[in-house]
C-alpha cells in the first residue's frame, strides 16, 4: 500500500501491486500498438513507426502508418477499453463474474439496433445511434424484468440469457430479410471485425470514452462499496438508488458504441475484468486495469486474427469468440466448484 499525502489535505492511497500491474498492462498495450502499426503487408521498423508518430518519417511511411493503420488501431484500442470498462462496471454492480454485457444481452441488443441499419442502409452515425438505442432499450428491459428487487444474484444473468436468445432470433430474422449482398456484409459485422475501420467509425466511441470513462472511473470507489450490499452501501453514504442505474446506463452506452464501431465483439467484456482482478488481487472493481487490459486484449486479438492464417484475414470477433468462449467454460467450471453458481 502506497500513501501519498500532499499539503492541503490531499491524499491518495494506491496498491503497489495494482499499480505495477496497471503500468505493465499499459506498456503491453503500447508495445502491441507499435507492433500493429509496424506489421502488415508492408513491414516497418518500430523505430520508424515511432518517428512517424512523432511527426517525422518518410511520406510513404506516413501514409501507411497514419492513414491506413492508425485508424484501425485507434478503433481496436477504443473498442477494447470500452468493453473492458463496461464489463468491470457490470460485474461489480452485479457482484457476479458472469454479469458481463455479453451475457446480459446488452451487446446483442446493440447488435440488433446496428443490424437494422446495416440491413436497411444508413450512415455510420445512424448505425451508432441505432446500436445505442438497441443497447439501452435492452438494458432497460432486462433491468425492468429482473432488477427491481436488487441487481445481485443470478436473476439478472438468467433473464439476460433469455433476452439474448430472443434477440439472436430477431437478428436471424433480419439477416434472412436482407438482400444477399447486405446479408453477407451484415454477417461480417455481426462477428465483430476491424477491417477497413476508419476515423468515421471510431470517433463517436472515442468521444464517448473521453466523456464517460473519467466519470465512471471516479465512481470506482463508491462502486467498490456497493459490492458489499445495497443496505451497507447506503449506510456508508453511497447514493445507490441513482448511482446504480447511472453506471449501468454508462456501461450499456459504452458497449453499444463499441458495437457500432466494430460490431458486437464478444467476450472481451467478460474476460478483461476477470483477468485484471486475478492479476491485481485487489478487492475493488479494478476499473482502470480492466480498461487497459481490454484495450491490450483487443489489439492482440486483432493481430492474431490478421496473422494466424497466412493469406487469409479472420474477423477479430472469431478470435475473441474462440478464446473468450473457452474462458467462459473455464469460469463456469471453477465458479461451480467454488459453490458460487
Amino acid at each position: 500500500m502506497i500513501v501519498l499525502r500532499l499539503p492541503g489535505g490531499l491524499s491518495l492511497r494506491l496498491r503497489a501491486r495494482a499499480l505495477a500491474v496497471g503500468a505493465g498492462i499499459a506498456l503491453l498495450a503500447l508495445a502491441l500498438g507499435v507492433l500493429a502499426l509496424a506489421g502488415g503487408e508492408q513491414l516497418l521498423r518500430p523505430a520508424d513507426v515511432l518517428r512517424t508518430l512523432t511527426g517525422g518519417g518518410a511520406p510513404a511511411d506516413r501514409f501507411i502508418v497514419l492513414d491506413l493503420r492508425l485508424p484501425r488501431l485507434a478503433t481496436a484500442l477504443g473498442v477494447g477499453a470500452a468493453l473492458g470498462l463496461a464489463g468491470a462496471v457490470c460485474q461489480a454492480l452485479l457482484r457476479n463474474p458472469l454479469g458481463s454485457p455479453d451475457v446480459l444481452g446488452f451487446t446483442q441488443g446493440a447488435a440488433t439496433g446496428g443490424l437494422t441499419v446495416v440491413v436497411l442502409g444508413g450512415s455510420s452515425l445512424a448505425l451508432g445511434a441505432a446500436a445505442v438505442a438497441g443497447g439501452l432499450a435492452t438494458g432497460a428491459a432486462v433491468y425492468a424484468l429482473a432488477g427491481r428487487r436488487g441487481l445481485s444474484g443470478h436473476r439478472l444473468v438468467l433473464v439476460g440469457i433469455g433476452v439474448t436468445a430472443i434477440l439472436a432470433g430477431v437478428n436471424g430474422f433480419l439477416l434472412t430479410r436482407a438482400p444477399l449482398m447486405d446479408a453477407a456484409r451484415a454477417t461480417l459485422w455481426l462477428t465483430g471485425s476491424l477491417d477497413g475501420r476508419g476515423w468515421v467509425n471510431s470517433l463517436p466511441l472515442l468521444a464517448a470514452l473521453a466523456l464517460l470513462a473519467p466519470a465512471v472511473l471516479a465512481g470506482g470507489r463508491a462502486l467498490g462499496v456497493t459490492g458489499m450490499g445495497e443496505d451497507l452501501a447506503t449506510a456508508l453514504g453511497v447514493p445507490v438508488r441513482w448511482l446504480r442505474p447511472l453506471l449501468l446506463a454508462a456501461a450499456v452506452a459504452l458497449v453499444s458504441l463499441a458495437a457500432a464501431a466494430a460490431g458486437p465483439v464478444s467476450f472481451v467484456a467478460l474476460t478483461a475484468p476477470h483477468l485484471a482482478r486475478r492479476l491485481t488481487r485487489a478487492p475493488g472493481p479494478n476499473l482502470l486495469p480492466a480498461t487497459l487490459l481490454g484495450a491490450a486484449l483487443l489489439v492482440a486479438a486483432d493481430q492474431l486474427a490478421q496473422r494466424a492464417v497466412t493469406g487469409h484475414q479472420l474477423p477479430v470477433g472469431v478470435v475473441t469468440g474462440v478464446l473468450g468462449g473457452g474462458h467462459l467454460v473455464w469460469l463456469l467450471a471453477t465458479e461451480r466448484r467454488a459453490g458460487r453458481l
Binding site: L10, S11, V225, A235, G237, V238, R281, P283
Partner: protein
C-alpha cells in the same frame, strides 16, 4: 428544536413493503446516549423499524427525524457521518483483508482526492484495537470464524465514527460465547465512547441485561418502552410473546431474567 427532543425519532410512521403494511402510526424516539434494544416476536416489525430509522426503508407516511430534519431530505453521505448501520446481511468482497474492510467504514469521510488522511489511518487502527481484531489486520475476512468476522464488521461501523449506530441482530449465527463477547463489546462502546446504540436482539434475557432502554413490539406496534426493569414483567412477556413465565433477578447483574413456565418439574421443589 426543543432541547428534550432526541436526535433520532421515528414519528407517526407507516411502514410497508410493496403491498404489505407492517406498521401504522408508529412513533419511536431513541433516547440520546442510550443503548436501545428492540425486542418482539418474529415478524413483529422490529427489523423493519430499524431499517426505517437507518433510512433504508422510506416510510409510506410519517417521517424519521434526524436532528429535527426529515432523514430522506438530507444527503445520504451527510447522514452517513452521523448515523451508522450494520445490516444483517453484508457481503465482504472476495479476498478483502480485515484492514481494508475496516477502512471502508471511512467512506463517507473520504473523497476522490482525499482517500487516506492521517485521521483515517488513526481511526481505523483505533477501531481495530477497540474490537480486538488488530492482530488479524492482514488476514482475508473470508478465512475468519463467525465471531471474529462479526467483530470486524463492528470495527468497520466504528471506523465510520458516527454518534448513532444501529445494529440489526448482531448476534445471529454466533454461538453463546461469541454472542456475549459481541454484546460486551457493544456495552463497552456505549459506556466508554458515549455512542447511542440501537440494536435488534432475539434473546429477551440478553436484551434485558444490556439495554438501557427497551422497546417491546408486537404486530407492528410498540407495546411498551422504557427501562428494562419496568418493561420486562411476567404480564408483558405473556402479552408480547404469548409466553407464560416468571421474572426473577439476574444473579449476575440484578436485571430482569425471564424464566419460561415449565410443563413439569424435574428436580426437587425449592424450599
Amino acid at each position: 428544536m426543543r432541547a428534550d427532543t432526541p436526535r433520532l425519532v421515528g414519528r407517526a410512521m407507516t411502514l410497508a413493503y410493496e403491498r404489505r403494511t407492517v406498521a401504522e402510526d408508529l412513533t419511536v424516539p431513541v433516547p440520546d446516549g442510550s443503548f436501545t434494544v428492540i425486542i418482539g416476536p418474529n415478524a413483529c416489525g422490529k427489523s423493519t423499524l430499524l431499517r426505517a430509522l437507518a433510512r433504508l426503508l422510506r416510510p409510506a407516511a410519517g417521517a424519521v427525524l434526524l436532528d429535527g430534519a426529515d432523514i430522506h431530505r438530507r444527503g445520504t453521505r451527510e447522514v452517513a457521518r452521523v448515523l451508522g448501520m450494520l445490516p444483517q446481511s453484508s457481503v465482504a468482497p472476495d479476498g478483502i483483508t480485515v484492514a481494508d474492510l475496516v477502512a471502508r467504514g471511512r467512506h463517507p469521510h473520504q473523497g476522490l482526492l482525499r482517500q487516506w488522511s492521517r485521521d483515517d489511518e488513526r481511526i481505523v487502527a483505533g477501531a481495530m484495537a477497540d474490537t480486538g481484531v488488530a492482530d488479524l489486520a492482514d488476514r482475508p475476512v473470508d478465512q475468519l470464524s463467525g465471531g471474529q468476522r462479526q467483530r470486524v464488521w463492528i470495527a468497520m461501523a466504528l471506523a465510520q465514527q458516527t454518534p448513532l449506530l444501529l445494529l440489526d441482530e448482531p448476534t445471529t449465527y454466533l454461538d453463546i460465547a461469541h454472542q456475549v463477547e459481541v454484546l460486551d463489546l457493544c456495552a463497552r462502546l456505549h459506556e466508554e465512547q458515549g455512542r447511542t446504540l440501537v440494536a435488534v436482539l432475539h434473546d429477551l434475557n440478553q436484551a434485558a441485561r444490556y439495554a438501557t432502554h427497551l422497546v417491546a413490539m408486537r404486530d407492528g406496534a410498540v407495546v411498551a418502552a422504557g427501562e428494562p426493569r419496568r418493561v420486562v414483567t411476567a404480564a408483558l412477556v405473556e402479552e408480547v410473546f404469548g409466553l407464560p413465565c416468571r421474572v426473577i433477578d439476574d444473579p449476575e447483574t440484578g436485571t430482569p431474567l425471564v424464566v419460561p413456565a415449565a410443563r413439569r418439574r424435574v428436580g426437587p421443589a425449592p424450599a
